[in-house]
Amino acid sequence: MNAAVILFPGSNREKDVCRALEHASGKAPRLIWHGEDTLPPGTDLVVLPGGFSYGDYLRCGAMAAHSPIMRAVAEHAARGGLVLGICNGFQILVESGLLPGILMRNADLRFICRMQHLSVERADTPFTAQYKAGQVIKVAIAHGEGNYVTDDHTLARLEGDGRIAFRYCDARGQIGGAANPNGSLNDIAGIYSDKFNVLGLMPHPENLIEPIIGGTDGLPLFQSLSQYG
């Protein structure tokens, strides 16, 4: 697995995701400056890390979506290459059209950082093969704009095609109510592209990869990727 992590001005969780990838695969990913216009040859996985690209002063992810490297990322995705966007990375993916919908401000208008349970909706994708379908996992969330919104038609298609990757839930797997931290439609925490090679999610699995730091429920995502293909 050759992974490339894109560094935008204002990215700030790139070290966290590099550590998770290396922990799972034994191989350090390449850090790629956003101003490059090509990916390293042989790149299997592109990661858009969390952070505040360009300060999030325009809509989150809107500026980064126009960085030179994003054309190469889109071509990589079009060829079926894997792309993972976490938090700000998810926002960049929707702003660049690689995933549908938009991430609005959290319903209560405040940034929220807490431990959060998710249900893994399916375990037959390159990102989740090491989980079980329906498994409840505990990961971190830390965002101010994670309220997933899209039109009814797109939502019906996402649901119908099984493209919901993760949903917010409580420790027992119940969705709805206080278990939804940000008001996302259908408790959506992450979605796939129609070919299941692009995943965007708001939570931070990369921060739960070791027992001493809150748990290891995030690690299987990176193990799934490192063992894919």
Binding site: P9, G10, N12, R13, K15, D16, R19, A20, G50, G51, F52, Y54, G55, D56, Y57, R110, F111, I112, C113, R114, M115, A140, A142, G144, H204, E206, N207, I209, I212, I213, G214
Partner: protein, 740 residues
């Protein structure tokens, strides 16, 4: 502010200089200053920059230990933490700006302290915040709480450093002057630390970061005066933060430092370009000549006066090695930051400012800093209060109701509404922080890199005690920090302090300041806990009301193996509960007395530093040997609140027995010092107790964990659900109120 012509007494007064201080200025330079020069003196001689009221007293504090690499006087303090690493940290106040404009005031407070730390070559790894708000029902307070929380969060979250701890308390005497103290902690290689001292003649002085605007002019002067009723009119003196620019500045500075190009570096904080340039020159016994035409400006037509006094954020000043200019510039251009050579070091020790070809200022550089007035202000010691015998305090309500009231009180209830707005998990090293447990631990605990070492961090002070007896309160503030670090298993190493006091021209305030400092100094000496950095914030007063003396103590401790850290959560039913330390039922100056009896009186609990040390060292040994399953220090609210927090954190109840020698409420809510509550496997508890006794440490087995109820003998019994409901609801309910 534009001006031409004579320097009038009114103009001098408007610059915050007293008539005798102006006479001193005249004697120093031998002529009338220019308008620009008056501004420079005003910036350098205000309380915030010159420490003129506090300096003679600060000299008495202990600042040295074998592990101290750099004590007070640099951008931040530096200690050796082994393995070739140094920990660099400091705490600083942004009280006045946060009252005037809470979001930006708090945000730039965080930004400023982060810069202090990465200026020295450290990558920031954590921040903490000590907040003091006024009465929760004060009409402005929700606005202030919401703004400060969002401001701290917005800056730290975007910059990418976890906000892992601190302390939030309330008192009506902060109504007109809240406290926002931010502490930043960073890590560097111990042989790659950067200082502010300029060296070499003719070396280029480089301006880096954001452009200079008209924001924050005279911010430090504003921060050096008490508030009057017109505080809101001072909004233009508050700066606006740009955490995105600061994140770029961090990465660019650290990249540049690795090239060997940096001779000296100083961030532009209070008093901006003036203060940073003067400090770099004065420390190196060199002069500084600046040509302001080269300063990157945000708006046209800025005068020399404005450029010199602007407190625009996210700016740095460096002295560069002359052959490295091109390399340095390329790094800054890559990060999209301004880079300009604006002057050079000169042999003659003067501060020379040119603008549009004219000399706007030409002043002796050493004297600007060193010859600032120093005051030994008159002081009146706080009269000693008599101890309050527990028998003289009647219990005003049943004990279970008392517990529920206190755990739902402003000071003791959950602060999650605030701390959830902080990213406390970024960097993936937070072992104990607000998102990992609520109630939180005694100290935050972060792992260093990939481990095994860990840093424990705390910031707190009990201002009730400081007010009742500044000397004992000062001792207690240090002991509290030391104890908090110990309770998670760390060896306490060093302190940063933020001395928040009222108007120093009030002799009673000066008496509080001197008393607290004596107590702090004595405790730091007794506990080998030196002060390596800090900040003094005076004139915290509004409309004649001084704040309570609030010397915030930030503590840093080290764990050789972070996996051996202790938490406060009860882990399983059936564990034995051990109480270490002596319980006399000390209710004087307690939260029980204040919040439930409506009385603020009595001497605070005395702190015996030898006892503190003995108890703490013993507890740390037990934690290191994994002999305990949970540990918690006892502080505000005493044993009952301590046990309640352990139970809530673990979701498991407990039953303890009460002695007959004390009134029940004194035993439950008294705040005797040097105490820890712990749990241990039942088969090990008696051996621990005997070992403690053998070392002269009082230790009692007082109960057992289990069930979903907290039971105190036969006098009180409260379900965890009811406790949790009260603990969780205070801030959400307060902040949901719509009417201001």
């Amino acid at each position: 502010m534009h001006h031409s012509g004579r320097i009038t007494p009114e103009l001098v007064a408007a610059h915050g200089l007293k008539p005798d201080e102006y006479q001193r200025l005249l004697a120093l330079i031998g002529r009338e200053p220019s308008f620009t020069e008056l501004g420079i003196f005003s910036a350098m001689w205000n309380e915030h920059c010159s420490y003129k009221s506090s300096r003679i007293h600060l000299r008495k504090l202990p600042t040295k230990a074998p592990w101290v690499i750099q004590g007070p006087g640099e951008n931040a303090g530096v200690i050796d933490i082994g393995d070739g690493l140094a920990c660099i940290f400091k705490m600083e106040s942004h009280n006045h700006p946060s009252y005037i404009e809470p979001h930006q005031g708090a945000a730039t407070g965080v930004g400023g302290i982060l810069r202090d730390v990465f200026t020295m070559g450290a990558r920031p790894v954590a921040t903490l915040d000590l907040l003091r708000f006024g009465a929760p029902d004060h009409p402005l307070m929700r606005h202030l709480i919401a703004g400060v929380a969002s401001g701290i969060g917005s800056y730290g979250n975007s910059f990418g450093v976890p906000t892992v701890g601190g302390s939030t308390k309330f008192d009506r005497r902060y109504n007109g002057n809240i406290l926002v103290n931010a502490m930043a902690v960073g890590i560097a290689r111990r042989d790659e630390i950067f200082y502010a001292k300029a060296t070499g003649i003719g070396n280029p002085i480089v301006y880096l970061g954001s452009k200079t605007g008209r924001d924050g002019i005279h911010g430090a002067t504003m921060a050096s005066a008490a508030f009057e009723a017109d505080a809101q009119e001072k909004r233009p003196t508050v700066q606006v933060g740009d955490p995105f620019a600061e994140k770029l500045l961090l990465e660019a500075c650290l990249e540049l430092m690795r090239t060997g190009a940096v001779i000296a570096i100083q961030d532009m904080g209070a008093a901006g370009l003036t203060s940073s340039a003067v400090e770099m020159g004065a420390k190196g016994n060199l002069g500084i000549a600046l040509d302001l035409d080269a300063v990157p400006c945000r708006e046209p037509g800025m005068s020399a006066y404005e450029m010199l006094l602007s407190e625009s954020q996210e700016r740095m000043l460096m002295v560069l090695a002359p052959d490295k200019e091109a390399e340095a510039e390329a790094i800054f251009r890559k990060w999209g930051l301004d880079f300009a050579i604006i002057g050079k070091t000169i042999a003659e020790p003067r501060f020379v400012i040119r603008h549009h070809g004219e000399v706007k200022a030409d002043l002796p550089i050493k004297e600007l800093g060193d010859e600032a007035p120093v005051y030994d202000r008159p002081s009146v010691p706080t009269p000693k209060a008599a101890p309050l015998a527990p028998e003289t305090v009647a219990a005003p309500l049943p004990h279970n109701e008392a517990l529920l009231r206190l755990i739902g009180s402003a000071d003791l209830a959950s602060k999650r509404w605030i701390t959830e707005q902080y990213d406390s998990l970024i960097l993936g090293n937070t072992i104990q922080g607000p998102a990992t447990q609520d109630p939180g631990g005694d100290a935050a605990l972060i792992r260093l890199g990939d481990g095994p070492k860990g840093l424990a961090l705390t910031a707190d002070v009990t201002q009730r005690y400081c007010e009742a007896d500044p000397y004992e309160g000062g001792k207690q503030a240090v002991a509290l920090a030391w104890r908090n670090l110990t309770a998670v298993g760390a060896t306490p190493l060093a302190v940063t302090d933020n001395l928040n006091f009222g108007n120093p021209e009030n002799p009673h305030v000066m008496g509080q300041f001197i008393g607290c400092l004596e107590g702090i100094g004595e405790a730091c000496r007794a506990l080998d806990f030196p002060i390596v950095s800090g900040n003094v914030s005076l004139y915290n007063a509004s409309e004649g009301q001084d704040i309570p003396p609030t010397p915030a103590i930030g503590g840093v401790g080290l764990l050789e193996d972070a996996s051996r850290g202790a938490t406060l959560a009860i882990k399983r039913p059936g564990d034995a509960i051990l109480l270490f330390g002596e319980t006399h039922g000390w209710l004087g100056a307690s939260v029980y007395l204040r919040d439930l009896c409506g009385r603020e009186e009595g001497a605070p609990p005395p702190v015996d530093l030898a006892v503190e040390r003995r108890h703490g060292d013993f507890l740390r040994g037990l934690i290191e040997n994994r002999a305990l399953t949970a540990v918690h220090t006892l502080s505000d609210g005493g044993l009952a609140l301590g046990l309640a927090k352990m139970a809530l954190a673990g979701g498991i109840g407990a039953r303890i027995e009460l002695p007959e020698s004390l009134p029940a409420h004194a035993f439950l809510f008294g705040e005797d010092q040097a105490r820890y509550l712990a749990t241990a496997l039942p088969e090990k508890a008696e051996a621990i107790r005997l070992e403690a006794e053998a070392q002269g440490i009082p230790c009692q087995l007082i109960g057992t964990t289990g069930s979903s109820i907290l039971a105190f003998g036969e006098v009180a019994s409260v379900g965890l659900d009811a406790l949790r409901e009260r603990f969780d609801s205070f801030l959400p309910e307060l902040m949901a109120k719509r009417t201001f």
